[in-house]
Amino acid sequence: MERMRTPYGRVAGLGSAKEGVQHWWMQRLTAVALIPLSLWFAISVAGVGGSYEAVHAWLRVPGPSILMILFLGSALYHAMLGVQVVLEDYVHCEKAKIASLVSLKLVTVLLAVAGIYAVLRVGFGG
């Protein structure tokens, strides 16, 4: 197989879809990041108590703000990659597939911007 590829193709390391292992690699990279981040998130939120005052006082501190933004970013990216594969597997109508994939990407960006903005707003005392 390797001999059938052009020298440029070998160097670029990209497959016929021009993405190569990008999707697979980013899914693993975000997975590794989420091991500590999701544990931090679960333990912190479970321990904070649910009142507005308690959650606000906890999240406005720089450490939790930074970790929450990292958690949101990697969790949403990871979720987007995972749901993308589910859609590609189960949505067989080509039009519906493209529409759902485009919606997925746009909704993910919307959620990421909204979530990160909210954390910054709390952190900067809005």
């Binding site: 693993r28 997975a31 590794v32 989420l34 091991i35 999701s38 544990l39 679960a42 333990i43 479970a46 321990g47 904070v48 108590g49 649910g50 009142s51 507005y52 959650v55 606000h56 999240l59 929450m68 949101l72 969790a75 949403l76 979720a79 995972g82 749901v83 589910v86 959620l111 909204a114 979530g115 903005y117 909210a118 954390v119 707003r121 709390v122 809005g126």
Partner: protein, 130 residues
Amino acid sequence: MTPVQRPLSPHLGIYKPQLTTVLSITHRATGIALSVGAVFLVWWLVALAYGPQSFAVPRAFFQSWIGVVFLLGWTFSLFFHLCNGIRHLFWDAGKGFDLKTTYASGWTVVAASVVLTAALWVFALGKGGF
């Protein structure tokens, strides 16, 4: 176009469920549940940024019985997906592929996710709940 008459492979429903296949589909199902949970997390954070009155809406939801069921489901989904995800990372590294190890790691994932879910809820309720 008339469909070609040819033998088809047996449908999924005919196979006996095994630990490996059940955990595989559960990994996907918990992943979808966590994606839905992420939407609720963003809702919770945006409501927090808006102020106490807005924050009361998601809080009331998470204190309702359906909210508690959702939170329990998400807690289990998080720990299952986390533990089984680590199992997947070992497979990605080419380790633990033989049948005996696959079953041992599978049952470890099941036990760990149940224990971690229970432990987190005991911890949360000890801290005064939500």
